[in-house]
């Protein structure tokens, strides 16, 4: 086992550990917003670790080639770019679909902003988180 392989394996180990953390956050956090806080970041970092780790690890094996590293980097960059976009889209979906913030939340500047904007435009329809959640609590 050479250095590259060792580094790679270490990265993979760290990555999988973050996968685990990510899923744990998914369980432990009280509402969907806070679950995303913990899950998204860890999963992304975990992927980064695993994927780039594999790329480096492969370089240290007899079958590996530079292509391993370049390909894994492409995948990693792709995930780095898309995962936060997904997270953003999901949290926006959560908010806009009317899922209320956790009861311990301390402020909601976004609602204030939207209300002000609606007032300015004199458009009566503004979705607010106070609305009963559409999908909440079923099953």
């Amino acid at each position: 086992m050479n250095a590259l392989a060792a580094v790679g394996e270490a990265l993979v180990l760290i990555g999988t550990f973050f996968y685990f953390l990510s899923a744990l956050g998914l369980i432990r956090m009280p509402d969907v917003y806070n679950r995303m806080q913990t899950a998204t970041k860890s999963a992304t970092l975990g992927s980064l670790g695993v994927i780039v780790g594999v790329g480096i690890w492969a370089l240290g094996t007899d079958f590996g080639s530079a292509a391993w590293l370049t390909k894994t980097i492409v995948i990693a960059v792709f995930l780095l770019l898309t995962n936060p976009i997904s997270a953003h889209a999901l949290i926006r979906a959560a908010y806009k679909s009317g899922i209320p913030l956790w009861e311990g939340s301390v402020m909601d500047k976004y609602r204030e902003h939207m209300e002000a904007k609606a007032k300015a435009a004199e458009a009566p329809e503004v979705e607010t988180p106070e609305e009963t959640p559409k999908e909440g609590g079923e099953e």
Binding site: F18, L21, L24, G25, R28, M29, P30, Y33, N34, M36, Q37, T38, T40, K41, S42, T44, L45, S65, A66, A67, L69, T70, K71, I73, V74, L80, L81, N83, P84, I85, A87, H88, I91, R92, Y95, L101, W102, G104, S105, V106, M107, D108, K109, Y110, R111, E112, H113, K117
Partner: protein
């Protein structure tokens, strides 16, 4: 910064795509190279208009240099973020004080805003909920005391200093 010429945008797209092709194939086989170039030319022809507004200007050395420098900086921030996450997830009391805060940015370009939003999402306790013009609305897992003020301006200042500002010094240069 206005829109660059079509040719500049097209060429920039082709270059980026061909670079990606190289990474994907990691091969110097002329068949692959040739075909990759052809495909890049074709795909770019369909997509350059949505892909970029500034064209080859993106390849200015200063931008590239800053971009390269941003990578370790960002990774560091991200690792910190995850340690933070680890702390909160593993802490038996689940120490959270969430809220949606309001920040502002100095960035102008769309790509810059995207990079900022993604950076925020991937770093400590924050997720970008929405971006409206230069306003960022962030779900923050631990809203600090200084941001808990009633006054809007102070709040924005405090939040921005904490969240957007650290990235902006790089992103301002890279994306304008």
């Amino acid at each position: 910064m206005g829109e660059a010429s079509k040719i500049s945008r097209y060429l920039y797209t082709v270059i980026v795509l061909f670079l990606i092709w190289l990474l994907l194939t990691a091969s110097l086989d002329p068949q692959e190279l040739g075909f990759g170039l052809i495909l890049s030319l074709i795909v770019a022809a369909f997509t350059y208009e949505i892909f970029t507004t500034s064209g080859l200007a993106n390849l200015h050395p200063k931008r590239v240099a800053y971009a390269i420098a941003y990578v370790p900086y960002f990774l560091w921030a991200m690792i910190m973020a995850n340690l933070d996450v680890a702390y909160r997830v593993l802490h038996p009391k689940r120490p959270i004080r969430p809220g949606i805060v309001h920040c502002k940015t100095v960035l102008n370009s769309d790509v810059g805003k995207l990079a900022l939003a993604n950076s925020i999402t991937l770093t400590p306790g924050t997720i970008t909920l929405d971006v409206d013009d230069d306003n960022y609305f962030i779900h923050w897992i631990w809203v600090p005391d200084e941001a808990l003020t009633e006054k809007e301006e102070e709040h924005v200042k405090a939040a921005s200093a904490n969240i957007t500002a650290p990235f902006e010094k790089f992103l301002k240069v890279i994306f304008g």
